[in-house]
Amino acid sequence: MVWINAVLQGVLLGGLYALFAAGLSLMFGVMRFINMAHGDFIITAAYLLLALVTGFAIHPALAVPLVIVALAAAGYLNQRILLNRVLGKDILPPVLVTFGLSIIIQNALLEVFSADSQKLQAGWLDTASFKLSEDLAIGALPLLMFLAAVAVIAGLQFVFYKTPLGRMLRATSDDPEIVPLMGGSNAHIFAIATALASVVVAIAGIFLAMKTNFDPAAGPARLLFAFEVVIIGGLGSLWGTLIGGIILGVAQTVGAQIDTGSQVLAGHLVFLALLVVRPRGLFPKT
């Protein structure tokens, strides 16, 4: 039964990892942009929620949408003002610039919030759980996290394949040079893509704040998980991102069941094994 439990918890944890990865995958998919500060944006969203709820005593029901709107707006402006300038045929400048951003964000968070690790108390969500059998239960928070991930992926899938905005985003991914001849502005479409990705980043940060302890240096580890998930799932596949998250989550919880200290290592090993067997991921974009 402990193994079934480990797998079940891993699947739910996978939802959080899919949330980490979806924004990264989206930005890469639309504009071949590798955002090295992705994990730090997630941590920033977590701190923002913490500050609003504990610092300014704003009710979480209001603070959560505030964080989402703030991140989306910041993402749009960041892309429009800064990141669009380094976008081009060469993928190296965005990597370097966002690597610099990552360092700046970590130090800024350190200045404001200190190096102490923090966690947002989620009240009843922290403890509530549903009993599946005598010795099997799932927590309300992990379940909510997983459902949010499914909803986010389904929502992105809908936007991309059923709306005029999604049509424009996919067209831009195919051939950005021609898009202006269709009346689309690349600078605006790229910024919209980043704003969408930032909404997902905000949701990921909100759950991270409630689920685990975090500190200003916690971003790069999340970026690593996000990369692993995107590569396992296959670049450009949204549902693949969810599957990738689940695989990484299960690998980690089963690994922890084998040996408490090897949770993260087990995830990396499964990632490496899949990289050898399926270098283009499980669901590569055709």
Binding site: P164, R167, R170, D175, I178, P180, L181, G184
Partner: protein, 240 residues
């Protein structure tokens, strides 16, 4: 005839390389104009400059009375200039119908709609849910033309639409031109096939080495004049 488009002394550069040297061209309302000339003569460069894909800041490109030189490409598109780019450039991950719909992003009013495009290119109806790039070359060209028409342009630019297509297919595509003109759209085609250009256009301009070397109504131009303008004076009489 009212003038729709007029360029005066237009120049264009790729880095330090000058591709156009003072090009003056006019297109009247409802007129079909062809640009002919050999590879590298500057015809495509001229279209790219009109659409804003190449920088034209500080120059003189009058469209419906406004100087559009230096405008961003998406703004020029919304003003009513649509382009069928060389090589078609359909969006690979979009279906035929999505490719058409994306042309209508500017939301300009006018006679063109999905139904109207399917009316002039009925071959596309059965393929509307296929990926655009899974079609034959001729059908892809129809999608590219339809996509441009969906924006309800006042001026339609067509860059080498017959390139690489079989003669029968070229004929089918050019049969759509009168239907496009019926809607009041002016057309500027770049065409290497001189015969095709002469057949379809009210007026032609011949380009050589970035300059206009000849212009006029097809009926008024002799083969000698065209050959001289197309290949340069030294080859006069050898071709055409």
């Amino acid at each position: 005839m009212t003038t729709l488009l007029e360029t005066r002394n237009l120049t264009a550069f790729y880095g330090d390389f000058q591709a156009l040297f003072g090009v003056d061209i006019t297109v009247g309302q409802g007129e079909t104009v062809a640009l002919i000339g050999s590879n590298g003569a500057g015809k495509s460069t001229f279209l790219r400059t009109l659409t804003g894909l190449l920088p034209a800041k500080g120059q003189d490109i009058r469209f419906e009375g406004q100087n559009i030189a230096g405008w961003a490409a998406d703004r020029i598109h919304k003003a009513g200039i649509a382009m069928v780019p060389e090589g078609r450039r359909l969006f690979a991950s979009l279906t035929v119908e999505e490719n058409l719909l994306i042309g209508a992003s500017g939301k300009r009013a006018g006679p063109w709609s999905l139904e109207k495009v399917y009316e002039i290119f009925p071959d596309l109806i059965a393929k509307k849910n296929n990926p655009g790039t899974a079609l034959s070359g001729g059908q892809q060209q129809m999608v590219a033309i339809g996509r441009a028409l969906m924006s309800n342009p006042t001026l339609l630019l067509c860059d080498e639409i017959s390139l690489g297509l079989a003669p029968k297919v070229i004929k089918d595509i050019y049969e759509a031109v009168p239907l496009i003109r019926e809607g009041g759209t002016s057309i500027l085609v770049v065409e290497q096939d001189v015969g095709q250009a002469m057949a379809v256009a009210d007026r032609v301009y011949c380009f050589m080495e970035g300059r206009v070397t000849l212009s006029g109504k097809p009926a008024d131009l002799t083969k000698h004049q065209i050959a001289a303008a197309y290949f340069g004076a030294k080859n006069e009489g050898e071709a055409a």
